[in-house]
């Protein structure tokens, strides 16, 4: 059993309190500093800081709105990697592993966990670099499987239901005007653009009225 590691996220930067989106996990609010300590399931604290910094470059917090930091994308990625997806429970992993044309997709042996671990090692002291240096380093690895995964996972962490650990306070859905999994648009489906209702987003747990767990949390 590894030592319990945490990532500390400033509550002020989060899109609303993460509390309900982290249901089932012990959370420590530091009232004086306004920090939220989120227990990590896969990353070490140092690894989480590297991933957090990289995600913030991919989906930045800037004048066009909040980004990966506010959505807690690093928490989302940590949970995916800790779960069955991270260890390739749903990928064909029998050998032989051969070099194949790009249209066959990722054919390697390494699981997402291994790809992240290796990618983070190569990024070294990334979290401590200046923003231009960080950008330069990410541009250099743009074509790697690690970066393609990280970019895809960042988008997933922005816009997936908060049950998965990202999209904190539904900030990703607010950003794009997505209302969440609503049950009916019968009265609106044939309306022209601009004549439909604008809604405050709701999560699946709010829609169904009870907690819902993602696939990553299912027992084997």
């Amino acid at each position: 059993m590894r030592r319990r590691e945490f990532i500390t996220l400033p509550a002020a930067s989060l899109g609303g309190l993460l509390l309900y989106s982290l249901a089932g996990e012990p959370l420590r609010m530091h009232a004086q500093t306004g920090d939220v300590r989120v227990p990590l399931r896969f990353f070490t604290a140092d690894e989480a800081r590297v991933i957090q910094a990289a995600c913030a470059l991919i989906f930045p917090s800037d004048e066009s709105g909040p980004g990966a930091n506010e959505a807690g994308v690093v928490v989302y990625i940590d949970r995916q990697l800790a779960g069955p997806y991270g260890r390739d429970k749903y990928r064909y992993t029998k050998p032989p592993f051969v070099d194949a044309a790009p249209e066959y997709g990722y054919q390697g042996k390494e699981s997402p966990r291994e790809i992240y671990r290796e990618g983070i090692v190569k990024l070294g002291k990334f979290a401590e670099l200046s923003a231009p240096e960080q950008e330069k380093q990410l541009r250099a690895i743009e074509k790697t499987i690690f970066f393609r995964m990280l970019r895809q996972h960042t988008i997933e962490g922005m816009f997936s239901d908060p049950m998965h650990g990202g999209n904190a306070g539904l900030i990703g859905w607010q950003l794009i005007g997505y209302p969440g999994p609503l049950m009916s648009y019968r009265s609106e489906i044939d309306k022209p653009p601009g004549e439909t209702k604008r809604r405050k987003p709701v999560s699946l747990a709010q829609v169904v009225g009870h907690p819902v767990i993602g696939w990553e949390d299912e027992k084997d």
């Binding site: 990928r91 249209e103 066959y104 997709g105 997936s160 859905w173 209302p179 489906i189 699946l204």
Partner: protein
Amino acid sequence: MERLKPVDIVIVGGGFVGLTLAKEITARTSLSVVVLERGQPRKTSDYIDQMDELDHVQRLRMMQNPADETITHRHSERTSAIPVRQYGSFQPGTGVGGAGEHWGAISSRYYPDQFKLATVLREKYGTARLPENLAVQDWGVPYEELEPCYWRAEQLIGVSGKAGNLHGTRIEGGNVFEGPRSHEYPNPPHKLSYAPSVFRKAAAELGYHPYPVPTATLSQNYTNPDGISRPACAYCGYCARFGCMIGAKAQPTNILMPVLLKRKNFSVRTGCNVRRVLHKDGQAEGVSYLDDASAEMFQPASVVILASWIVNNARLLLLSKIGTQYDPATRKGTTGKNLTHQVVQSTRIFFDASLDTFMGSGGLGISISDFDGSQGVDGYPGVLRGGNIRVMTTGEGPIASFGAMPPGEVKSEWGSEWKKAALAWHDRSVVINSEGEHLAFRHNYMDLDPTYTDKYGDPLTRMTLDWTDHERAQGAMLTKVHGEIAKAMNVRSAGANSRLLERYTVTQYQSSHVNGGAIMGASPDTSVVNPWLQHWQIANLWVVGGSAFPQNGAGNPTLTILAITLRSADALVDRYLKHPGALA
């Protein structure tokens, strides 16, 4: 291996095909029917907690797990095959209801000339002018004989649409090119969302014949002939790749299981993975399978029906050493031949306003068929058959749709500039989409992979499949029309993704409409099953489903699969069970 108590009929696979057969047989006989399904049980009430894009669209939670069993693919016999490690250009289903739980529910009929395509093409062009390796065949059943089965299937699933041809009279507003129907659709068309309505107007102005895409999600509350009532669609957008949480979309669990569970002569066993059909002296004796606890069972039966997914029907025949493997060099042998997929082409178009593309349902939209079947192909050299052209709002999730923008907007795929553009273009696009007929060719087939195995150590199915000049010419024709319609719609077009047709690409989703491998036909020399889907060599073995298609029609195959399944059930019950033996 434990020998179980014999049953009358064992059905392999609990999807639309297997459960439809079970419903027909148990309604009309007192014979015992057991369905063996390798996946898990499912029911409508499971689905509301599953309205989650990440688990269902990105992680494909309802699909067969490729870690257990996948396929391998190669482009030609000259190259070695590569395993599909993650789906993929198609997505096989599993569990009770199979892919029928998470389908899009589009339910068109095939054209009458599809069922005698070899004859039609030979008469029109002459053998010398057809591609040398073309392998299309007649189905062995004319459209006129299938029409009553199509109508039964449309009532069973409650298709919403508008007829374009009733008893030979063309009706504007429906698909005027379709074959004659005996009845109007059971339900009227759906309300129309905005983007398809713009497409409809533009297509009509260009002189084409737009019609509502027929779909088995309900436009109104409906009770089918079995007394099963379902509510009208709510356009929640959680449709294809999801089970419908209100039952508006026809699914085996909402139209077949409620009927079957009341029948004493029916049972379904889940978690049972059938690995072999056992046979001796030209008779099937039953099937062997591993149950949930990995215990090996032998289920003896008087009749064995393979109703699993296309790829697995052919695979079970090959693993069981039934019939002869097709050989493209000699064109001899039949099992595995005429593998077809579908030529999917799309053109993304951009509007000036947000479209609320998160609303919708799997088949909500408008289609034209002016370049479908044999329509409109004569001005396009090299095109023998075309495909549909449609705009639908199927319900787009925020993860899958984020980042769609016209090409060249930004240089990078990440960072501030990209984010700003992605936000500005978000929810402003739909695709003009085509699914063309995929003709059978000599070199496209299935056999057993020599290298890769499933979780039990059995060889995987190997697909040898690539596009030919016909698909490229067909794609060019269809996307040219996409461009013409986009212009008339006055929207910005991203152009077509014609790179898809350079080489068959297993990792880019196209459709799950893979067919063939155990095809039907008029002769045992050229087909695996007879026109009633009974195996030519083993009279008490039936192989039912899309595996029987000699080639692929345009659009979605499920309705045609249901029609040939009902015809097969009739032959089994009314003829075979009364006088067991080869039907003629």
